[in-house]
Symmetry: C2
Subunit: 242 residues, 2 copies
Amino acid sequence: MTYCVALSMDRGLAFMSDTRTNAGVDSISTFRKMFSWTKPGERVIVLLAAGNLATTQAVVSLLDERAKASHDRSPSLLETPSMYQTARVVGDLLKEVIAGSVPAGQSQDAFGASFILGGQIRGTEPRLFMIYPEGNFVEAGADTPFFQIGEIKYGKPILVRAFDPGMSFAEAAKLLLVSFDSTVKSNLSVGLPLDMQFYERDSFTPGKQVRVNADDPYYRTISEGWSDALKTAFRKLPDFPF
Amino acid sequence: MTYCVALSMDRGLAFMSDTRTNAGVDSISTFRKMFSWTKPGERVIVLLAAGNLATTQAVVSLLDERAKASHDRSPSLLETPSMYQTARVVGDLLKEVIAGSVPAGQSQDAFGASFILGGQIRGTEPRLFMIYPEGNFVEAGADTPFFQIGEIKYGKPILVRAFDPGMSFAEAAKLLLVSFDSTVKSNLSVGLPLDMQFYERDSFTPGKQVRVNADDPYYRTISEGWSDALKTAFRKLPDFPF
């Protein structure tokens, strides 16, 4: 499994993904699930991947090849006129890769994958999309300002409660780490290291990128501090009046 | 869906279940999922149910009938010599009901159900079991002192962090309500009212039983208080050092 989150904030976009992949509990590996493409001063595009690793790697490799050979007839991520068209390119490619992988007569479920796509192209606002295995997609808005893919349930309650579109990147990094820590503590299929990336609105240049390892001192502070903080908060609530 | 939790504590057992059932989001109903049988001074048995409602109701009706006609040849919950044998009776009946419901050649998945069974019979310790659709079961122990069935993921992180076998029933009620509130806030298929029941070790009489409605003042205190407490705890953690 996998856990990826992207937040759409007033200041820009924040992304986090884990790196664990597994084909059964006895076959665990570490793979990056966060990818980005930049044309400095003009666009920054970030992609988070969940699902069948062969499918997501094929999509990312094809996007990479197209970005490098930009005079190819196929649309490149670095040439699309809008984030909407960028999401269409990724969605179409995903659908195509899945269709090409499924043996005749079989269900495509095992080959499925989904993406979160975020970024900004000069002249437009930063936008965030969730792309489904069918190739269609939805966009984040003021009512639903974040997307999660993969093993989303454990880390959702804190996002629902503590996310605030006005928060700083430093607060967003803290929120993402708390959400991931809750997931990692409850589910073996999500694991460290974690990749984190930020994009500041109208900067058109990649923001801070961080890889967080299990022995990262800030991660340990958050992980232990959050356990203690939860216990303290819990103790402070009134007991049931028997 | 459903959410049920049972805790095995030093003082006894604590149980909580929601009451929402749904066949699609346009067909929502309220059904009790917590059942108990008592022989005062000798045994108390509590059952929590998740899964296909027709299956769980059939099992509970049959258990009820057998308990009332105790001279029947079928084993009654009020006659079993141990909690282990009680779990076998429930597991065998569950397997039988499922087998009788599945049309020939179809998978039994849609008819599946699972139970948490807890209680105490005089002369033995309080015990807690999780019973699978296949009729087999596992028992809680010191390392895994609680069981969840149904929509378990949202409410697991707080249980993992705040459960303590030495806690009082008043604290256990608070913990259960926080875990349920996190689930209800994130998932439409789990809903109020909630049923709560306690069993005090060696009492052989049913403990406090409470139905918690959405307008219950204590529930509102916990629900709002926990949101505030989480936000405060979150703010107190150090921000990411950019």
